[in-house]
Symmetry: C2
Subunit: 151 residues, 2 copies
DNA sequence: TCCACCTGTATCGCATGCTATGGATGCTGC
DNA sequence: GCAGCATCCATAGCATGCGATACAGGTGGA
């Protein structure tokens, strides 16, 4: 149920987007918490699942978050035995980050939770509308993102 | 510019919504920071501008956030001289919250920032597409929100 | 070589969001 | 009246996100 049918906030894309994002995160967290995982781990799993290694900067770029945010997430994931860092032999500033075997074993669970929540979220839209909605989100991101990113 | 044209994350509504929400918040924060305000203050301003008083619970419901989150936001806003709490004479559990005159004087700035960021975010969409996008966001919220709310 | 600059990471301080819990107050049924 | 329940708020503990800054290591030109 949506609250306050006449609320002017309903006409604000920023408010509705923020609300939707919090609901996404809660839905993900509820599914992943029993496995000791949370929504913030997801971009790391998507980037590294299958044995890929990346530097912290590459992970931050891939998740479109700032470097200190990714550093904190990786610190927690390392504490919880989900990732390991090894020094890059070619550049002592860098660490190469990979999922631990324990995390690799949970990767399918993470992917399934993402798919399930996405399907639930879009269940009120027809397939063509879903693609359109994603395309609209991309245009919104493009309009607000002032940082040029490599393709 | 959107990164990673072939990235499977681009097909995830949850990822794109989270990204868009962070970009919205950053855009708002950059405009409001010079005035000592931030994105978290916005739902309080929208609810109370014009002299309205509300309890903390009503504010949390109006913003669709949990009560402890609203409590923390109000603590900071009180610290910064933006709101004042007065005891409800009819129910000693409640406080009635209102904007201070200093905050009322900034309300127009908050509304202008919201309008400007919304306009920027939707600048890549035609007017009809904007309404459609907002309607889609409402359906996503309705699909994910498991808490019934009064209309 | 060495200095100046660039890059990658760590760290601080803070805001915003959540769940879980507890305490004070109000209400209802007996 | 009061015992039990409901409601409102405060607080603890944590995760996720930001900007600002410090510093180690790499790089390139004089």
């Amino acid at each position: 149920m949506v609250s306050f049918p006449n609320d002017p906030r309903r006409a604000s894309a920023g408010y509705m987007t923020n609300w939707a994002a919090r609901l996404f995160a809660r839905a993900i967290d509820r599914r992943l918490a029993p496995h000791g995982l949370s929504s913030g781990h997801m971009p790391v799993f998507f980037a590294l699942a299958g044995g890929t290694t990346m530097t912290q900067k590459e992970l931050a770029l891939s998740a479109a978050i700032e470097q200190p945010t990714m550093a904190a997430t990786l610190t927690r994931m390392e504490r919880d035995g989900l990732i390991a860092r090894e020094p890059d032999p070619d550049d002592r500033r860098k660490s190469l980050i990979r999922l631990t075997p324990a995390a690799e074993a949970k990767a399918a669970t993470v992917m399934a939770a993402a798919a399930e929540v996405n399907a639930l979220a879009l269940s009120g839209l027809q397939p063509a509308e879903r693609a359109r909605f994603l395309a609209d989100l991309e245009r919104v991101v493009a309009a607000l993102d002032d940082r040029p990113r490599a393709g």
